[in-house]
Symmetry: C2
Subunit: 188 residues, 2 copies
DNA sequence: TCCGTTGTCTACCATTTGGTAAGTGACCAC
DNA sequence: GTGGTCACTTACCAAATGGTAGACAACGGA
């Protein structure tokens, strides 16, 4: 149900996705949805929580040492792991990325929910990074910047396509490197 | 009227902006809007045309020689002028940028209108660049990339803010330089 | 066996939405 | 003056939307 709502909100937008349409996709009546979520807005909150949990899981995995203690591991290497993981999320689960954009579009109310949902999970990832000697303030900014940059990048590619320019493979790789440079510059 | 609809669609989204609300903002009845635009969708087309005209005007000004013949002027310099002009548009008229994102969100139908609206105006700017010796194919890609990149960047900043990170002045300047590097690399 | 809980449904409802039909006054050409 | 066009209005309407109220069956424990 959360999955269906997630793809619905991401693909067609929040307002344009009616409870009825979601219900029929689920093979169920609208009231069944309202049984679990007392309003459409709360369903959105649920979806935000669902999406951020998955996203934060990815971030956490990338931020935490791969196996066993890593000692004074390289911060740069870890940053790269984070960026790549977010990139992969964008490729494999674009809905997650698009939902973030949608939430920011929906204004302060939804944004607050997003911030609240993601906060503890980011804090955890920041903790993992701190364990290998990365400054907490910086690592937080880097984590969130990586996510925001991927959202912006996805938007850029989409707009470019709509303007009639098909993105080639090379430009995407260039963008990834560009993004790494930007984030690593924040590490200094 | 187009101006009101533009800010409405950009700020609250297309679906969430009712004809009634626009009408009341205009101090007029809904049917007055439908007198000039036979449907909401056509109003959107009108707004797209209105916005792209303004945007293309900016692009055209930046692409055309500032005054008199420029001879074999520097392509890089012109690229910089274009990027800066698009940046300024983003700062002064964010609605234009946000509308582009909104259009891409609304799917193929709206996107086609956007592409159709912007095409002749871009062609003109490409012509102006060709006059100073820039390859047409490249200049087209650079023009559209600049616009798309600014849209993506605006999205990124917005998402980052929603995640609780306030962007500082320095990061914006860094982004501008980053963007210039990217576009100039396409020139080679 | 009976009861309360849980999950889903049918039946409605008020409101909003985009859109149609028809009217009205102002102005302008003849 | 008269006819016609223009700009805008009032009066409606069908459909869709989010949401409420309550029925109904299944099921598990006392």
């Amino acid at each position: 149900m959360l999955e269906t709502a997630l793809t619905g909100f991401a693909q067609r937008g929040y307002e344009a996705t009616s409870l009825d349409s979601l219900a029929s996709e689920l093979g169920v009546r609208k009231q069944t949805i309202l049984y679990y979520f007392s309003s459409k807005e709360e369903l959105l909150r649920g979806v935000i929580g669902y999406a951020t949990a998955e996203l934060a899981d990815v971030l956490g995995r990338a931020a935490a040492p791969a196996g066993g203690l890593a000692g004074a591991a390289d911060g740069h290497q870890r940053i790269r792991a984070i960026v790549d993981s977010v990139f992969r999320v964008g490729a494999r689960r674009p809905e997650l990325i698009v939902l973030l954009r949608e939430v920011s579009r929906l204004g302060p109310s939804a944004s607050r929910d997003l911030a609240a949902s993601i906060e503890p999970l980011v804090a955890q990832a920041v903790g993992a990074l701190a364990a290998v000697g990365v400054d907490p303030v910086r690592s937080r900014r880097i984590l969130l910047s990586a996510v925001a940059k991927v959202v912006g990048l996805a938007t850029e590619v989409e707009v470019l396509r709509d303007l009639g320019v098909q993105p080639d493979r090379g430009s995407l790789r260039r963008r990834r490197r560009e993004l790494l440079v930007f984030l690593e510059s924040e590490l200094v």
